[in-house]
Amino acid sequence: MKRYWRCFVCNDIHYGLKPPEVCPTCKVKNAYVEVTSEEAKTIASLSTVEFTEADFFEAIMRFTEGNEFQVNPDRERVRMLLDGITNNERNHGLKYCPCRLATKDFEEDLHIVCPCNFVIHETYKGVPDGECWCGLFVRRK
């Protein structure tokens, strides 16, 4: 089961089976110590950086750089999807895909948080013009 880890130098929080060997923020080796989920949540809540719909768009643009997929060039479609994703985070707590429905099983619903792991889905894997279910991400030509 995944656990929480905290960098003892800069308080970076990591959630995973094992901590990183080198802290990606302060570059110190062997810096992580396991902490409780409560401690991790408290530290994570310290960030008050505003993250708007435009910021999310920039984030997914950076995310796709160097990948075999890109954000859909159809910006009207992207705008509609970002509206839905933003509304879902506001109304339902996470950036759920507007083209699927959360089941109310939290762990299962993590699979439909955008960006989801669409590269394994039948709409993308092995499909020349593959895209994620909602079409926010498409295979790069």
Binding site: M80, L81, G84, Y96, G135
Partner: protein, 93 residues
């Protein structure tokens, strides 16, 4: 409740594209789809979830929109489909 349902999302581009096709099909065949928006109406969402056993196997083992569902036969088709495919599905019901 009508026997044919369409589950859709307000900000789902597939749903937006399918809506005029559904309306055309309704006019052409006389069928009626009970259209249920699922992200802004929790009752509709719960209704869709209640059919999960029938819907998920037809939709990549997930609840996806748009989904067209026959309440009586429990048959479903999901996603952005061609008009003729949707019509064939309706006429088969």
């Amino acid at each position: 409740m009508a026997n044919l349902l369409m589950f859709h999302g307000r900000e789902c581009p597939h749903c937006k594209k399918m809506m005029p096709l559904v309306e055309k099909l309704e006019k052409e065949t006389g069928v009626f789809f009970d259209k249920r928006e699922v992200w802004h109406d929790e009752k509709n969402a719960d209704l869709m979830r209640s059919y999960r056993e029938a819907l998920a196997p037809k939709c990549g083992n997930q609840l996806r929109v748009p989904t067209f569902f026959n309440h009586d036969t429990k048959d479903a088709i999901c996603g952005e489909v061609e008009y003729q495919k949707l019509k064939d599905w309706v006429l088969k019901q």
